[in-house]
């Protein structure tokens, strides 16, 4: 494989700015790697494609189903959980579907469907989109094709802007919502019960010509207390709350904890 | 005199800080053909542009039918037609080029086709009708450009060297044709030409522009016979222009001393009747006869024994350069050349009438043009 370390990163991680901080710190710690680190942000589906072709060395991704398949097929190895936040249902301030008073996501979605209030779906096979589909299934509704169900096919932030402009509901990860909140006329009504889990997967060096050593080093760094501490603190200063919850304790040299499922 | 069809008053055109045209006053009567002549860069094309209302002079105004041109220029422009020095044809067929002015005026298709055809035939380019204008030869393009203007049958026709690229038989035929057509239709014409013969042939009056100013305007014979100043004389091809001094004026004839010779001139000289002058003589006014000839009873008052310096064929004629005490040029026919069997060194007598001599006061200043 090449000497570069190509890191495939989900766009939401890049968009928040967390990626830059992590990479900067990694470069500081490993000056030998500094010149070769190439973090590349892309849609989750695109990341999986790249991994399958051995075009990236390591992934930071939140796409549970595809992650499992990647590992099952032997293209990915060494999955480690990195951090998480939550999905949330957001909608217009007057809450025409009265989602506020529901307890679960599925229930809220049922109300939206019942009242036929506009719902913006990202429709891009991203983690958020996949989770949204799962929630619709839970609610027992197939919204695709309904006039109130619109697929924006855009990034997370863009979808929020669309929803805000149209006075629509949408599903969003809590981190992105925090970042965009002040531009939006949207309020958070229901939080998802399941976390939005980001994990690290290395591409299998036995199957693809990848930069194993560097990828391992980066994975180690991310799960190290130093890496975890950055995650824990990220966003505090700017938004008053952290955007992600690190998977590990974020202190000392303990290995990252395996989260309860 | 009827009211002038077109005119200019106090026109000044400047380019890059240079005055390239300055005309106090110039009028063209209805139906008149004004020939504009002058050396290269004199401002002739500029004058045409000003008259065509295509160039706004920095000072002065253009008159049309006696009134200053103001407001929308389109109605005026539609009463004129212009042939530019370069034939700027549109990237279309010959036919649609020639018809373009008509279709801009909304002339119906059928009439347009008819008129276009007539003028194409008149210019001998009917066979080129469907050809793309950009494939034409130089002369063919100029014919199209001419036809495009004439098909409009305008009140005023402005022509800038319209015949320069035409072959000689065509040019002659066209000039004949045009002369007749213009007289019939009463079109007012201003045309620029380098060809003095053309100007003489077509022009009712001739205007001489030199250095951006009109130096002289008048009937061709007058302008050619009595150039207003040295530059005009030189330009008009008065090839013998020698300095002299008026020594006496007898019976309306001035006696001028030129080098060692005496020349009698009937030229009406304004200003001081004695002093330094330029003696102008047109080569075709000089007649040559054998040196031994007895003086015949002719009206030629000046008879100067001369030596032939050089014989040059010039078209159908022969130019003989003589030394008559001063340089003198004569234009004679081939027959005369044969009969006199002239060659360099031959001795001849050069004679010319006193009326053929034109005197210009020395250091003459350009005059204001007289309309």
């Amino acid at each position: 494989g090449g000497d570069d370390l190509v890191i495939g990163v989900s766009t939401s991680v890049r968009d928040t700015g967390l990626l830059d901080e992590l990479v900067d710190e990694f470069k500081r710690q490993r000056p030998d790697q500094a010149a070769t680190v190439k973090p590349v942000a892309a849609g989750s589906g695109q990341l999986i494609e790249l991994a399958l072709r051995g075009e990236v060395d390591i992934l930071i991704i939140h796409l549970p189903g595809a992650e499992a398949k990647l590992i099952a097929d032997g293209d990915g190895i060494d999955r480690r959980e990195l951090m998480h936040n939550f999905f949330a249902l957001v909608g217009p301030p007057d809450d025409p579907a009265r989602a506020q008073s529901t307890l679960t996501m599925a229930e809220a979605l049922k109300r939206i469907a019942a009242t036929e209030k506009t719902f913006i779906s990202r429709g891009d096979n991203s983690g958020t989109h996949l989770r949204e589909m799962a929630l619709w299934r839970q609610a027992g509704i197939d919204p695709v094709g309904e006039s109130w169900y619109q697929e924006s096919g855009a990034g997370q932030g863009q979808s929020l802007l669309v929803a805000s402009d149209k006075g629509a509901y949408t599903l969003v990860d809590s981190g992105t919502f925090v970042v965009f909140q002040e531009r939006l006329e949207l309020e958070l009504y229901v939080s998802d019960e399941e976390p939005n889990q980001y994990s690290i997967i290395r591409v299998n060096p036995d199957k693809h010509g990848v930069n194993e050593a560097a990828a391992l080093a980066f994975a180690e760094f991310l799960t190290s207390p130093a890496g975890q501490r950055i995650i824990a603190g990220f966003g505090l200063e700017k938004y008053g709350e952290p955007l992600f919850v690190p998977a590990g304790p974020g202190s000392d040299s303990e290995p990252a904890a395996t989260p309860e499922r | 005199m009827t009211q002038p069809k077109m005119g200019v008053r106090g026109i000044l055109v400047e380019r890059a800080g240079h005055r390239i045209l300055f005309v106090e006053e110039l009028d063209v009567s209805p139906g008149e053909v004004l020939a504009v002549v002058g050396p290269n860069g004199a401002g002739k094309s500029t004058l045409i542009h000003v008259l065509a209302l295509l160039e706004r002079p920095s000072e002065g105004e253009v008159l049309f039918d006696g009134r200053p041109v103001r407001g929308d220029l389109l109605p005026y422009r539609r009463r004129m037609a212009v042939v530019f020095q370069e034939p700027l044809l549109l990237d279309a067929t010959v036919e649609s080029n020639v018809g373009s002015g008509l279709s801009l005026r909304g002339v119906p298709r059928a009439e347009r086709a008819h008129r276009v055809r007539r003028w194409l035939e008149r210019f001998g380019i009917a066979a080129l009708a469907r050809r793309s204008a950009h494939t034409l030869s130089g002369g063919e393009a100029q014919r199209v450009s001419l036809a495009r203007a004439l098909v409009l049958e305008p009140e005023v026709l402005l022509l800038d060297e319209p015949f320069a690229a035409l072959d000689e038989p065509t040019r002659q035929a066209l000039i004949d044709d045009l002369d007749r057509a213009l007289a019939e239709t009463g079109t007012t014409v201003v045309f620029v030409s380098h060809d003095r013969a053309e100007a003489l042939r077509l022009g009712d009056r001739v205007a001489v522009i030199i250095g951006g100013r009109i130096r002289q305007v008048g009937p061709p014979s007058q302008v050619f016979a009595a150039p207003a100043d040295e530059e005009v004389a030189a330009f008009l091809g008065v090839e013998t222009i020698v300095p002299g001094r008026i020594s006496a004026v007898e019976e309306g004839l001035a006696v001028v001393e030129v080098s060692s010779c005496r020349v009698e001139a009937a030229s009406a000289l304004e200003g001081p009747s004695a002093g330094e002058v330029l003696v102008c003589l047109r080569p075709e006014d000089v007649v040559l006869s054998p040196a031994e000839d007895r003086p015949a009873a002719t009206s030629a008052r000046n008879r100067l024994p001369s030596v032939v310096r050089r014989v040059v064929r010039s078209g159908a004629q022969v130019r003989v350069e003589l030394d008559a005490g001063f340089p003198l040029v004569a234009l004679i026919t081939k027959q005369s050349l044969e009969e006199l069997s002239l060659e360099a060194g031959s001795r001849v007598v050069a004679s010319f009438k006193a009326t053929a001599v034109h005197l210009i006061p020395r250091h003459a200043r350009p005059q204001s043009p007289s309309g």
């Binding site: 849609g43 695109q46 697929e151 855009a154 863009q158 | 389109l74 002015g101």
Partner: protein, 232 residues
């Protein structure tokens, strides 16, 4: 590499199986970019005529601004147009955001400087006396413009093609002001981007191929019109 071939194969499948969604998207792309180019041409030719024929003072300045306009990133145009069209923006009352009309506006903003800047030059390369000749033939102001446009059709059609190319190939602005909403504002480029981010690279290739085939049909027509009777 085989990705590209797979994409082309997929494109043919989509075209020949009569995939309604693809047809719809393709039609929207052409309609929107065509409209934007039309607007750009109207504005562009007016400004260009003024700048080229009147040669007003400050023409070089105006031209340099127009030329800079050719480098407007679509995403910036999208952002600015979105700001205008936001509900709280100055044109919010029109409720145009996330409609095809918004994309037309944004693409027109992108195409206009391209069309204008190239049209100015197109008209400037005409023989300077040709305008006088046309006026001398008795053309009104509009007739003169029309005749001169015809004379400059070679570079003017090139300008139109460049404008159309800029409009139909951009994605940032369509995304921003259109929102890539399925069945409404999804164009060939925005759905290509979507397919890329979904990881459906063959599908992305297929859409791109369909786009290029459509574009080629348009450009071939225009090129033939442009080059007609220029043969000799």
């Amino acid at each position: 590499m085989e990705l590209i071939w797979d994409g082309i194969r997929e494109a043919f499948r989509l075209i020949f199986t009569g995939n309604a969604e693809v047809y719809e998207i393709a039609f929207l792309s052409l309609a929107v970019s065509g409209a934007a180019t039309g607007i750009a041409l109207i504005i562009g030719l007016s400004i260009a005529s003024f700048l080229a024929f009147r040669a007003p003072p400050g023409r070089t300045l105006a031209l340099s601004l127009l030329n800079s306009g050719m480098a407007l990133p679509p995403v910036v145009v999208g952002l600015v147009v979105a700001v205008m069209l936001w509900r709280t923006g100055p044109l919010g009352q029109l409720h145009l955001l996330y409609t095809p009309a918004a994309i037309v506006i944004a693409q027109a903003v992108i195409a206009t400087p391209v069309v204008t800047a190239l049209s100015v030059v197109a008209l400037q390369t005409l023989h300077p006396k040709l305008r006088l000749q046309v006026l001398a033939l008795g053309a009104s102001r509009w007739q003169a413009a029309w005749l001169l446009f015809r004379e400059a059709r070679l570079p003017l059609i090139a300008a139109a093609m460049a404008g159309f190319g800029a409009a139909i190939s951009e994605v940032g602005a369509s995304m921003m002001v259109g929102g890539n909403i399925k069945g409404s504002t999804r164009t060939l480029t925005t759905s290509t981007v979507l397919e890329v981010s979904r990881g459906n690279l063959e599908a992305a290739m297929a859409l791109a191929f369909i786009l290029l085939v459509l574009v080629y049909a348009v450009m071939l027509t225009l090129t033939i019109v442009q080059q007609r009777r220029r043969a000799s």
